[in-house]
């Protein structure tokens, strides 16, 4: 299935399987998404190659950024009106606590979704959604350059 077809499937069924399967990096990272209580929840399945500090052990900061950027894009695709993949303008990742060697989940909130640009906040957590391990704010370009 092409990326565009996979995006259409997400819109029509809320099933992200084809979309995540069509993105090589999502497969490499073990990043998946599903609708939970009507909202997109993304998950990064723990794997040894995601570790940044083997002594603690703690997940690599970059992997948390990757999960949160992916979460925002999944949610924008689910909500979007075109099949154009949003382009990341910028992302700021803030690390709040060490992420242990376990699955990480993330949810995104649209702070503002205009016609051209969306501002999205993302929260990544492990056990307790109220105790995020990292948060991100990102801007996305929703139209072609």
């Amino acid at each position: 299935m092409s990326l565009r077809e996979a995006v259409v499937t997400v819109r029509e069924t809320g099933d992200f399987t084809a979309l995540q399967e069509s993105i090589p990096y999502a497969r490499f990272m073990g990043i998946t998404a599903e609708l939970v209580d009507g909202d997109v929840t993304a998950r990064m399945r723990y794997s040894e190659h995601l570790v940044g500090n083997a002594a603690v052990p703690a997940l690599h900061g970059g992997t948390l950024g990757a999960l949160m950027e992916s979460t925002a894009i999944f949610k924008l695709l689910w909500h979007g009106e075109t099949t154009t993949v949003p382009k990341t303008i910028n992302i700021t990742v803030e690390y709040l606590r060490s992420a242990r060697a376990a699955d990480v989940f993330a949810r995104a909130v649209f702070t503002r979704r205009g016609r051209r640009v969306a501002n999205v906040r993302v929260f990544a957590f492990q056990d307790d959604p109220d105790r995020p391990v990292a948060v991100a704010t990102a801007h996305f370009l929703l139209v072609q350059d």
């Binding site: 565009r4 090589p24 950024g65």
Partner: protein
Amino acid sequence: MSDSFLPQRDEIRRRLEGRYVGAVPHNQALNLRVVDYRPEHLSLALPYRDDLVGNPETGVLHGGCITSLIDATCGGAVIMSLAAPRRIATLDLRIDYVRPALPHQEVICDAHCYKVTRHVAFVRATAHHGDEESPIATASGTFVVFRDEGRQDDDGEST
């Protein structure tokens, strides 16, 4: 550079590749490579790979692996700036994508740790395809530097 300085540089490169790139599972999974280093500066390369592509229609690498490259390079630049080995953790990292990355090309990140205080280090970085005058991304990050090596604090992500 004099010839007598070369063995020392090779030794530093070996240590960087062994302890920083090789000993960090995710850096190794991305095949990060040391390109250049000098005090307060580090450059790492992320080789292009099909399994790191974010958009199969364009073949461009996913922003996530560029985030990991920039985080790793900035953290390494902090380590290169410290007089003694310390545990560090990223506090925040901001990345601006100033132009689209190109498919089938490796990405190089140059990071400069321009200020270290007692507990915090400040870093600026750019990511490019080999021409640093034409960046794909510019970034800035702050890192906390742990002075108490014996304790594992719960206030930051370990790099």
